[in-house]
């Protein structure tokens, strides 16, 4: 009973997070300007991290937590680097 409840809710959560990833991918490919794409990439990092944590609950395995932490750290560094690249004004169309 409780197993079924948890399985169904985690599966639906994973489906919803996958839909959220598709939404960010749409903005990343269709974004009119570079900052839209970078914003979408940042959101994609966060949603991928949540997806990994949901997978960790599903498999009752804590190794996914380490991966989620790694994604969180690298996502922050990547977004800051891309924002600094935009600030330099080298990407002006």
């Amino acid at each position: 009973m409780s197993h079924d409840i948890l399985m169904w809710s985690i599966t639906s959560a994973q489906v919803m997070l996958a839909a959220a990833m598709l939404a960010t991918l749409y903005r990343m490919f269709m974004g009119p300007r570079a900052q839209d794409r970078i914003l979408a990439l940042d959101a994609l990092y966060v949603v991928a991290m949540l997806q990994l944590i949901a997978l960790g609950i599903r498999t009752a395995n804590q190794i996914y937590f380490e991966l989620a932490m790694l994604i969180g750290l690298l996502g922050f560094v990547g977004t800051v680097a891309l924002a600094k690249f935009l600030m330099r004004g080298e990407v002006v169309e």
Binding site: S2, L6, A23, D42, A43, V46, G56, Q62, A83, G89
Partner: protein, 123 residues
């Protein structure tokens, strides 16, 4: 796979995870539907703060119960996310503002140049 767990735990964790993923989905749909960059930059904060916080809370409760010891790793991710998201979004907004101002200045300079060329006396 998932061990046997009490019903109340399953209900609490399910509620946290489902509500959190719904909020994340709402934030990412806002990323698609809003039609200006300065509006869009507010949308992912929903997913990172509310959705991420709820999913991490559900994960913390779940692992605390099934491992029978306090598990607080998730709080580290939550604190890190709440600290870094405003920094990245502020940097992005400032970069975008800088680019907009630069391009506006560039087009105005081009317009002034055109006016100067048009007003030149022709012999």
């Amino acid at each position: 796979m998932i061990p046997d767990l009490p019903l109340w735990l399953a209900i609490i964790v399910s509620a946290c995870v489902v509500i959190g993923s719904l909020l994340t989905l709402a934030g990412c749909l806002g990323l698609v539907r809003l039609n200006d960059f300065y509006l869009r930059i507010h949308a992912p904060t929903m997913g990172t703060s509310m959705g991420g916080g709820l999913i991490l809370l559900g994960s913390a409760i779940y692992f605390t119960v099934i491992q029978e010891r306090p598990v607080f790793h998730e709080i580290a991710i939550f604190v890190f996310m709440t600290l870094t998201t405003p920094v990245t979004l502020m940097l992005l907004a400032r970069a975008s503002l800088f680019r907009d101002r630069y391009e506006k200045a560039l087009t105005e300079a081009n317009k002034a140049e055109d006016v100067k060329i048009e007003n030149q006396p022709t012999n």
